[in-house]
């Protein structure tokens, strides 16, 4: 394809003048284009986007927590407890009873996502304010000492996915720490 044709030594014919053959100056650029596009493709495919992804988290002011304490009804609360061994448990209501085991799997019937969605339905159906409006579900997330960060993010992500508006991360009190030990033993033994 290249347009340059070398004058293959087309030398001296007889005694005539030395003639230089006219060379075309056109260069075929096709291979060069190929190369350029190859490089572009390579760079595009090997680059990773730098901007990190993030989820947003709002924490309350420390000294204001007590002032802001809202009255929450027994029927609208759900506690989620994360423990050290990647396990997750929950109980409904304000009283420390009826602990159930759960899982992080979204498909699992007793998984945390289905549980939250069911609870949401139950709250909006059966937990009404004095004016008769349904209340919001309140999820309290308790992180036991030594739980890992991945699980916390997973649970916060579930809050986002299930569209739970009211949730809080709390330090478990000593009763809960104790209860968690006892319940976890009995729940996970079966």
């Amino acid at each position: 394809m290249a347009e340059i044709s070398q004058g293959g030594g087309g030398g001296h014919h007889g005694e005539g003048k030395v003639r230089t053959k006219k060379l075309s100056t056109r260069v075929d650029l096709t291979p060069m284009v190929d190369l350029a596009f190859l490089l572009i493709t390579f760079f595009m495919l090997t680059t990773t986007l730098k901007k990190p992804q993030a989820m947003e988290l709002n924490m309350p002011k420390e000294e204001k927590i007590d002032e802001d304490k809202q009255e929450i009804a027994d029927c609208q609360v759900m506690h989620i407890i994360l423990d050290t061994l990647d396990r997750v448990m929950y109980y409904e209501g304000l009283e420390l009873k009826d602990w159930k085991k759960s899982s992080y799997s979204p498909e699992d019937e007793v998984g945390i996502r289905k549980t939250i969605l069911n609870k949401q339905k139950a709250v909006s159906a059966g937990c009404l304010t004095r004016e008769g409006k349904p209340k919001d579900l309140v999820v309290l997330i308790k992180l036991l000492k030594g739980a890992n960060y991945n699980n916390m993010v997973t649970i916060l992500d579930e809050m986002d996915i299930t569209d739970t508006k009211v949730y809080a991360i709390q330090k478990p009190d000593s009763m809960e720490v104790f209860a968690a030990k006892v319940f976890a033993e009995s729940i996970y033994k079966q």
Binding site: L29, T30, I40, P52, E56, N148, Y149, V153, T154, D157
Partner: protein, 205 residues
């Protein structure tokens, strides 16, 4: 009747224009690309659905062992952070006041601060080789109750640019207690809104 003559046309297309365009694109992509700095501390972030993108925040990283690191955005912001740190905490850490301009300029290359403020002059005197080996074994920023140096860095960053977003980058398996200490430091310093760095990869949706 003469047959209709179809004029013979050359099939060669002039590629010059296309070549120009493709190289222009290539140059553009190469010049606009920003290179990632080599990461001295590897942090495997957890996955989540959220898709908020943030550009160069004040980064507080927590690694597997619970060590805490501070990263200020590159360039002018980093210099300013150090200046503010000297300005506000110079009394508390007299070592800061002894820093000379060469050392300050060298601070620009420190991607992650993971050592006590007291060691700053020493670290800034390191040669390149010393720095590389040091980066792999940084002790983390001390965060005890007597002197919370992470808070100092954080405030320096905040004074340098109050608009700057703040993000926590924690490793999947890092202990929650370390992360909660960082969060506590944030709320103590009146930062109530911040981000957690996550990845979309393998997120369950």
């Amino acid at each position: 009747m003469p047959a209709i003559k179809i004029p013979r046309k050359s099939t060669i297309i002039d590629m010059t224009a296309m070549c120009d365009v493709s190289f222009l694109l290539l140059t553009f992509f190469i010049l606009t690309a920003k290179f990632n700095d080599e990461q001295s501390v590897i942090i495997d972030v957890p996955a989540a659905r959220s898709e908020i993108k943030i550009d160069e925040p004040l980064l507080l990283s927590v690694d597997k062992e619970g060590k805490v690191y501070f990263t200020a955005p590159k360039g002018a912001m980093r210099t300013k952070t150090l200046d503010k740190l000297i300005e506000r905490y110079g009394e508390k850490y007299p070592q800061l006041k002894e820093l000379n301009d060469v050392q300050k300029a060298k601070f620009l290359d420190i991607e992650m601060v993971g050592f006590p403020i007291e060691n700053l002059p020493e670290v800034l005197n390191f040669t390149k080789e010393q720095m590389t080996s040091f980066k792999k074994s940084m002790p983390g920023i001390p965060m005890d109750t007597i002197q919370n140096q992470l808070g100092a860095w954080l405030m320096a960053g905040r004074y340098a640019d109050p608009e700057q977003r703040i993000a926590i980058k924690g490793d999947k398996i890092s202990n929650i207690d370390a992360v909660q200490d960082v969060i506590k430091t944030l709320t103590r310093n009146d930062v109530h809104r911040f981000n957690l760095i996550t990845t979309l990869e393998g997120a369950n949706r």
